[in-house]
Subunit: 306 residues, 2 copies
């Protein structure tokens, strides 16, 4: 039996969270946006990720949004909610809610307040959450994003968790931005479903046994990323890939979350998309205009036709 | 009228949070420990600080502990609870609870998940919390601890907040460990109550107009620190100060929170003190024994008699 059968594969989207001008989550827009991402070809929705400003949301807000998605009829197996937290009780409550909603898995940050903590301490955190949830349906995807969490998910930590918890440890998102790290993990943990955090490494990753990508930019171009994954013609795939990377490169010139929201506000005509919660700030219009022009150029470049 | 009249001054203690072996807060021990710290001479209790493992506690746990302290009859004016959070709704809820309990002030972390955020964004966070709480009783002490929060409280940020919110911005705790930074702030903001995060800078700070110190080590030696502050005899004060700094130096050789808890477990005979929440880990007995010996040496050094 293929251990990866019930695993995520393809392009997963850390869904942007729309806010009203008063900073409250804009629930109708959130629900319709999630539906539209799936229609565009997303293989899964990694709601409550870094791109979702999840740590700027209260526990209650995340539970409310998760409940609303389920109630809206979205297939829970397509959901990979972020449930990691600085405090174990919070991580347990969110993880339990996800499992009870039959989510396909959870993407779990390490505890991110203290720095230079021991590997033993991070292991103890994951162990405590997994054992308190205590549900055989739980599938944990570890979240390696050291430039924000300050706490790396090291190979020895992964090995200890897999050794103790077996298939409960289903995979990992590597947002280090360092392909060498992803390559090492793919080689060392062939039974895990490993996602680079950028489509820049999508094809390399797939060729090395990776599971796709979980990427912020997919909020903007999920359909294109999905085409890169599905394309069987090598030359065509390379062309699509160049365009996809060109778009990624444009967003990388800006603060990613405000830039994505700016682009979505313009595309949808819904200005509310521009709202971000502090400490993030919306993109200034001057930067936004430059962003739109650069996107237009990347998308109309004849060397990388769509 | 002295603007600093209703301000904290002296030695404030970021109170360690005792946990039972199952990681639940040990409420009776917490309450009796808070009372004993005040009896020893603490001028205030900065509960829910970094040393308190506050970000390893859920919002509900912090609210429960705060409520229990008030119900226990502790003078709320002596409380400076930590209320900063990554998410604005959490910071608002905790801050409002503190103000409604008539706490003397709140010690507010900046939002600590995103890094390299703009000063504008951090300003917007504090502004949003202050305005949503919307209570003239609110007194905010800003919390500068860049090695953990990743988000500095810069002089220009402080100036903007003071300019906009006046005496609502009451002070600052500087846990940078950098005396030059504290000295700069003391000079630039003489109307604020500024606390170094270490008793190592206590006398320098007091001489330059500082308000005392808010220090982890005071969980162990509050009475000594208070004596240094109160002592009027220069030579005696220098001797006390040397002993105080020697004790600080011992704790700095170890992970501070587990080391303080180890020392308290031994002193009190209550082994539960040794429990820390992951990602922290308790001090190993070998390190603990070395700690106790070094403390004994520092405390019996005849060159620094008590």
């Amino acid at each position: 039996m293929d251990m990866k059968n019930d695993r995520f594969f393809g392009v997963l989207i850390p869904v942007l969270t729309p806010f009203r001008r008063d900073y409250e989550p804009d629930l109708p827009t959130f629900l319709s946006f999630c539906r539209s991402l799936l229609e565009e070809g997303a293989n899964g929705l990694a709601v409550f990720g870094t791109t979702s400003e999840a740590n700027s949301l209260s526990l209650r807000e995340r539970r409310t949004l998760l409940g609303a998605l389920i109630e809206d009829g979205l297939d829970p197996k397509l959901l990979l909610p972020g449930t990691g937290a600085a405090a174990i009780p919070d991580a347990v409550e969110l993880t339990r809610a996800a499992v009870e909603a039959n989510a396909g898995g959870v993407l779990m940050l390490p505890p991110f307040y203290y720095k230079n903590v021991s590997e033993d301490g991070v292991f103890a955190y994951y162990a405590e959450v997994i054992e308190r949830v205590g549900d055989p349906r739980l599938r944990v995807y570890l979240y390696h994003i050291p430039h924000l969490s300050g706490v790396p998910i090291t190979p020895t930590l992964i090995a200890r968790l897999v050794d103790r918890y077996g298939e409960t440890i289903a995979g990992l998102k590597d947002s280090s931005g360092n392909w060498e790290n992803t390559a090492t993990l793919l080689k060392q943990f062939p039974t895990l479903s490993i996602f680079p955090g950028s489509e820049r490494f999508l094809l390399q990753g797939l060729a090395a046994g990776g599971a796709g990508c979980i990427t912020a930019t997919a909020n903007y171009d999920a359909a294109l990323i999905r085409r890169v994954i599905d394309c069987q013609d090598g030359a065509e795939r390379d062309r699509l890939n160049r365009r996809m990377v060109a778009i990624r490169t444009v967003f990388e010139q800006h603060p990613t979350i405000p830039a994505l929201k700016y682009a979505l506000a313009k595309r949808s005509g819904n200005a509310a998309w521009n709202t971000v919660r502090p400490p993030l700030r919306p993109l200034a219009d001057s930067a936004g205009q430059a962003l739109l022009q650069a996107l237009k150029a990347a998308e109309s470049d004849e060397r990388v036709p769509l």
